[in-house]
């Protein structure tokens, strides 16, 4: 499965990146291809292009704040989870995708 994700937390200093790390690591073990965009204090990094998004089978928003440039994902089904859930139980997040 091709997955794209966005992570963003209130201060954008720590949890954004922890969640990104967890999603990337877990995707790897589950055999999914993933690209995670982080929206933190640094700004947007590893930005998802329209092509990335169009090609994705699934979209995950692990965010506690509004996603910037959310219009890119119009028409896509999005799984929204709190940042903490992606950190604590990333496998669970992917399991939800299947449903």
């Amino acid at each position: 499965m091709k997955v794209v994700a966005v992570t963003a937390c209130p201060t954008g200093v720590a949890h954004t990146y922890m969640a990104a790390e967890q999603l990337e690591k877990t995707a790897k073990t589950l055999g999914h291809a993933i690209k995670v965009e982080t929206q933190g204090a640094i700004g947007i990094e590893n930005e998802l292009s329209d092509g990335d998004i169009q090609a994705a089978d699934a979209v995950i928003f692990a965010t506690d704040i509004e996603v910037e440039r959310g219009e890119r994902f119009e028409g896509k089904m999005i799984l929204r989870v709190p940042v903490q859930e992606a950190i604590k139980n990333p496998a669970g997040v992917f399991a939800k995708l299947k449903n």
């Binding site: 201060t11 200093v13 990146y17 790390e21 204090a41 903490q84 950190i87």
Partner: protein, 839 residues
Amino acid sequence: MNPKPRQARDFEFRCQLAAGLHARPATRLAEVAAEFQSECTLRNLRNYAIANLKSVLSIIAAEVRHGDSCEITVRGLDEEAALSGLQRFIETELPKCDEPLLPAPPSRGSLPRTLRDAHAHAVLGTAASPGVGRGHIVRVGGLRIPAAAQSEKPKDRKQEQQRIDKALAAARIALEVRLARAANKTEQDVLKAHRGLLSDVSFTDRLANLVEHGRPAGRAIVEACGSFVEMMRSSESLYIRERALDMHDVCARLLAEIYGEPATHTPQLTKPSIVVAENCTPQQLLSFDRQHLRGLILEAGGATSHTLILARSLEIPAITGVRETALLPDSEEAIVDGSRGFAIAEMSQAVERYFRNESEIAERRRARLSQFASSAAVTRDGQRLEIGANVAAVEELGPAFQNGAEGIGVFRTEMLFAGRETPPTEAEQFEAYSAAARAAGGKPTIVRTLDVGGDKPLACLDLPQEQNPFLGERGVRLYPRHEALLCSQVRAILRASAHGRMMLMVPMIATVDEVRWCKALIASVKQELAGERVTFDDKLQFGVMIEVPSAGFLIEELAREVDFFSVGTNDLAQYFFAADRDNPALAALANPLAPAFLRFLQQIADAAHRAGKWIGICGQMAADARNLPIVIGLGIDEVGVPSAAIPDLKHRVAKLNASDCRDLLKRALSCASAAEVGALLDSYSGEKLPLIADDLVVMPATAQNKDEAIREAVGTLWVAGRIEDRVRLEDAVWAREEVYSTGLGHGFAVPHCKSAAVHAPSIAVLRLREPVEWGSLDEKPVEIAILLALPEDAAKEHLQVFARLARKLMNEEFRNQLLSARDAAAIRSCLEQNVLAEA
């Protein structure tokens, strides 16, 4: 106010005064009601409180707030007239009784969570002088019947009532006299409110009632005062709570009328003590034995009084604006926290532990800073800045030199003159100045001649009442009219100059003529002393304050007359920007970092140096370490600052490079706003501090809960000199914790925040001895807490390090490496290798 007639004898209105029916409008309302015979009643339809409209106290007790609907009822012979009179007043006059709301009261203190959870009974106040102190409560002043009258038995009731009536009448007359002399409307309004209290029927009835029940006059006054003060203090409105002080004043006046003026009483402190007082004069503060004075709790508000400036300089923890001092029992042991703004008079285990932790961290900070105290302030490329302390009393010199003062930047002499009916004699002054000279032990001491005026009135000096005191007869402008006074001061300074290295400095110079006048006076005093064969330093350096803009354009001419200059940046900025420095609404305007002001400063400093004179800065600008690059860039030779700021300033100067500072100044001068200059300063911190260092790792950390851990981590940054305002950083960290816990599981937490309190981005690590509950994702306690502290405008490279660290923490191997590290150095190096190395 929109009165809406209902029936003939009552009507309803809505209070539209922003501060509600507080003392002043209530006073006016009661005055109007008193013109009529009818009984006039107000009912607050929000809380159904009923008030006698003729009693200010009663109106205040009805707690009429902005927006409350009230009903006014009139019963009696002249009810028609009363009704229309009151209605007219409420419609047309009452709205004018309002005044802009006072500036927001300074933030109240707050209790650390540990103590809150331990249900410690604290009283809160405004943090006014940092630090934590422990001692026994000693109450000073307050309303007190003279000892002689304590055991007084009531004479006959009629006689007691007469004593009260006489006191009331005399107090009213005294008030009228003061009213006639009142300087401004605010003072008038306060006095009118006092007059209203004196005539208030609730108050006078209460007094009569107490006398009727057998109280002697003095006791009746104290008891009546107590009950009304209590009522006001329990009011929901801050404004009314503060009016309790008025009641207090009025009753003190009455007692003085009956028993004579009380002698000011300063108790002897015989063991570690915390002094509790309504207010405290600077002299009173100094009269306490400082060996035992551990803290100060004041009922009066404000954080800028001379007393508090002194307290900060003497490092006595203090809180102000404390309304519930009654909750602090006499002679009980208590702690006061002047950093966070609370006091507790219950030494529970939690409080003991808190005090121990705070004392320990303060001690660590002191020990660290004392390393720098004894060194000179020299930049890396060898530019020297002399750092002196500003003081107002001889007693401050000891602590100042301990903090590493290289001299006294300004010895303010006003305190010698304050709070007394006659000016100090030459002998008294000589004693103070020569004591200062001896205490300075050869270090330069700049004594500033009397700097008073309409804005800083003195009882012992007849000063004119002025419309615009800041632009009036201040400083040197008063000297010609008080020549004898100045002569005695100059004589005392010159005589003291034989005992040390003194310099004399004159405030508020605007013209060369003023300087020449002062020099002529000094010359004649010297001649006089020489004639009397009194020894003095004939070469005593003479300087002037540059605080009036005109003087800034006369440096070349002034330099021919003087030995040195000292820029008073507070006043110079206020006059330069035409912005009252005491008006908080204008605080942003009189910003010394504004490019216009910096250009002026540069012109002044350059002109002084061209003329071969040295130049100093005394003022807030020099005390703020953030401004140091500007001060160094300007080539300033000396600064006068509060002594507590000295070690840190020295430490920071040593990290700067003067040539970088000159470049930075150049860029600042071409900025368009103070904000741009501020940003420029923030981006320049001299020597780059590493994100992580051995002194930022605590192992083992002794915190027993999350609150203690956050305090310990933030305290570690404070001890290391990375932040000044601990409390602000703690608050920022907690604000983030409250969104959701930063406990990420596996025994790790990453508390973090961005805050202007942080100078340099830093990582502090606690390796906790006992795992601490953090509300983590996996509900497991935390063994390692990593505090990420970022300045408001953190650079991308630092954010990237933090992001990398966050990702690394998801890696079990990395976590285990940290958990099994043997010591602080191992933790530091593990972080460096894994997180910084890739930077």
